[in-house]
């Protein structure tokens, strides 16, 4: 009886994770069987309103997918000092993700802080677990890495467009 309840509890939790991941761009190329394997390497974390997920300038080792709740992203003028000025950047909701560069880059420092503004549940994927996933299931890991590369590539081209536009503005002001 206990085993039955236990299995069902975890099965339901895993099934909801699989369903959530299947809708995410990063896991688009994976089928439910693969996603079930991926859930072995993913951590579920719960945050209370006002709790920080990470702070700007801290070293980060992974990325988060918001399963439920809301997270504010902001920068701080003096994150470790007494007097800080916060600059709100964006609000992330269920289905959004953040911190993908920390998943790839070693000793990556977070460029902004993230704070839960209500009861929030996230799924975390971290560098050491990604390495384990690549060791145990290389094909799944490779397909996931390809999607991460696509997201980072898109970010890079967006940044390049922004830089070009800023340069043009500077030229215009100078000229």
């Amino acid at each position: 009886m206990i085993n039955f309840l236990w299995d069902n509890m975890f099965k339901r939790r895993k099934d909801s994770q699989v369903e959530f991941l299947s809708k995410n761009f990063f896991f688009k190329n994976l089928n439910p069987v693969d996603l079930k394997k991926v859930t072995q390497f993913i951590h579920v974390r719960h945050y209370r309103p006002g709790e920080l997920l990470f702070r700007q300038n801290e070293i980060g080792i992974g990325m988060y997918f918001i399963l439920k709740g809301r997270i504010d992203i902001f920068t701080e003028s003096n994150p470790n000092g007494d007097k800080t000025e916060s600059l709100f950047i964006t609000r992330l909701e269920a289905g959004d993700h953040m911190g993908e560069i920390a998943l790839i880059e070693d000793n990556h420092r977070r460029t902004a802080s993230a704070k839960a503004t209500m009861e929030t549940t996230v799924l975390g994927l971290f560098q050491p677990d990604l390495k384990r996933l690549l060791e145990s299931y290389p094909d799944i890991g490779a397909r996931l890495l390809l999607q991460i590369a696509k997201v980072l590539g898109r970010r890079l081209s967006e940044t390049a467009i922004k830089i070009t536009s800023l340069k043009k503005q500077v030229e215009r002001i100078k000229g």
Partner: protein, 349 residues
């Protein structure tokens, strides 16, 4: 005002979570240390786990589930172990019996060897000394051999619990290892989560590499000693090779301890000790030239002084088992201290 009340509440919650997490870890350690056979069973279980996990990974890569891979690898390992025991045990038991009958002669021979050395020293320094080391050594050796041969069946029956528990624990560590570590990590407060996760993986990686490298090193040294001794027709080659392999697990002192019985046997039998020393030296040379640089050196980067101090502390606390686990324990402490320091200095920069 409200903001600071909320912050204090969150901090309190984090502290409660940390206390619960540390209490669970401490209770686990107390159970390991206090319950009979538990520590040794778990140590052996981790050795089995780390030895078999790369093979299980190979099966997983072929798309076989973790449960099935663990079951298949365990079945293969168990069969291989049984075949090995079936194949080797007749030689080993024959050599133990032969050695047992030769023991009085070797004790007498060692006693007279020490007596000879003593009298040579007396001649050299030109004074009479009353150390009587020969008689002391004889007493020690008689009690050792008596305890080894008389306590061996008793020891084996006592170890049966460990020998049964260790594979049982290892099986579940391999099958459910990820779920167990995830469950433990769930208890970690959010603000320490990334540090603890990173620490767990670093320790896991280092221990796995260390145990696999040491086992490989011991096996190669054992095979080389067995091959060399058999080649020169030396008696008890199986027993001496197993002894050399086991003592080789102890850094620095182990290889010396491993060679002593063979040298004593050679001296007592009146055969030249040079071929025997040559065999052990060749095994150590291969170890130093190929095995250590290729598989061991890069794994646990401890200073030789740290290694020796760790071995002494291990020996004082837990005897021979302490000597064997002292190096991995020292490297766990080093990795933990390094990561916590790195976290304090860099994570919160």
């Amino acid at each position: 005002m409200n903001h600071s009340i909320q912050e204090n509440r969150l901090k309190r919650l984090e502290i409660y979570k940390l206390i619960i997490f540390l209490s669970i870890i401490t209770s686990g350690l107390v159970i390991l240390l206090k319950v009979d056979n538990m520590m040794l069973s778990f140590l052996l279980a981790f050795v089995i786990k780390y030895s078999l996990s790369p093979i299980i990974n190979l099966f997983e890569r072929r798309g076989i589930s973790t449960e099935k891979s663990t079951l298949i690898v365990f079945a293969i390992a168990f069969t291989a172990f049984c075949i090995l025991i079936y194949w080797v045990s007749p030689f080993i038991s024959a050599q133990i019996k032969a050695f047992q009958s030769e023991v009085p002669r070797y004790i007498e021979g060692t006693k007279s060897l020490i007596f000879d050395i003593e009298s040579k020293i007396e001649v050299l320094i030109n004074t009479s000394i009353e150390l009587n080391l020969g008689a002391q050594a004889e007493g020690l050796m008689i009690s050792w051999t008596k305890s080894i041969f008389e306590d061996l069946p008793n020891f084996l029956s006592k170890s049966l619990t460990t020998l049964l528990l260790a594979p049982f624990f290892a099986y579940f560590l391999l099958k459910d290892g990820r779920s167990i570590s995830k469950w433990l990590l769930d208890l970690v407060p959010n603000s320490f989560f990334e540090l603890v996760l990173s620490l767990q993986h670093q320790i896991n990686d280092q221990m796995g590499q260390f145990i696999r490298a040491r086992l490989l090193e011991a096996t190669i040294v054992g095979v080389l000693v067995w091959g060399g001794l058999s080649l020169i027709g030396f008696p008890f080659s199986h027993l001496l090779a197993i002894f050399a392999a086991l003592t080789n697990l102890i850094p620095y002192l182990g290889p010396v301890i491993g060679a002593i019985p063979a040298i004593i046997i050679a001296l007592i039998n009146g055969v030249s000790i040079f071929p025997v020393i040559g065999v052990y030296a060749f095994a150590q040379l291969m170890d130093m030239l190929f095995i250590i640089p290729l598989v061991v050196a890069k794994i646990v980067n401890l200073h030789p002084i740290t290694v020796v101090i760790a071995i002494i502390i291990g020996a004082q606390l837990m005897g021979v088992v302490g000597m064997l686990v002292s190096i991995p324990a020292a490297s766990v402490i080093k990795v933990t201290a390094h990561s916590v320091y790195h976290h304090l200095i860099n994570f919160r920069a």
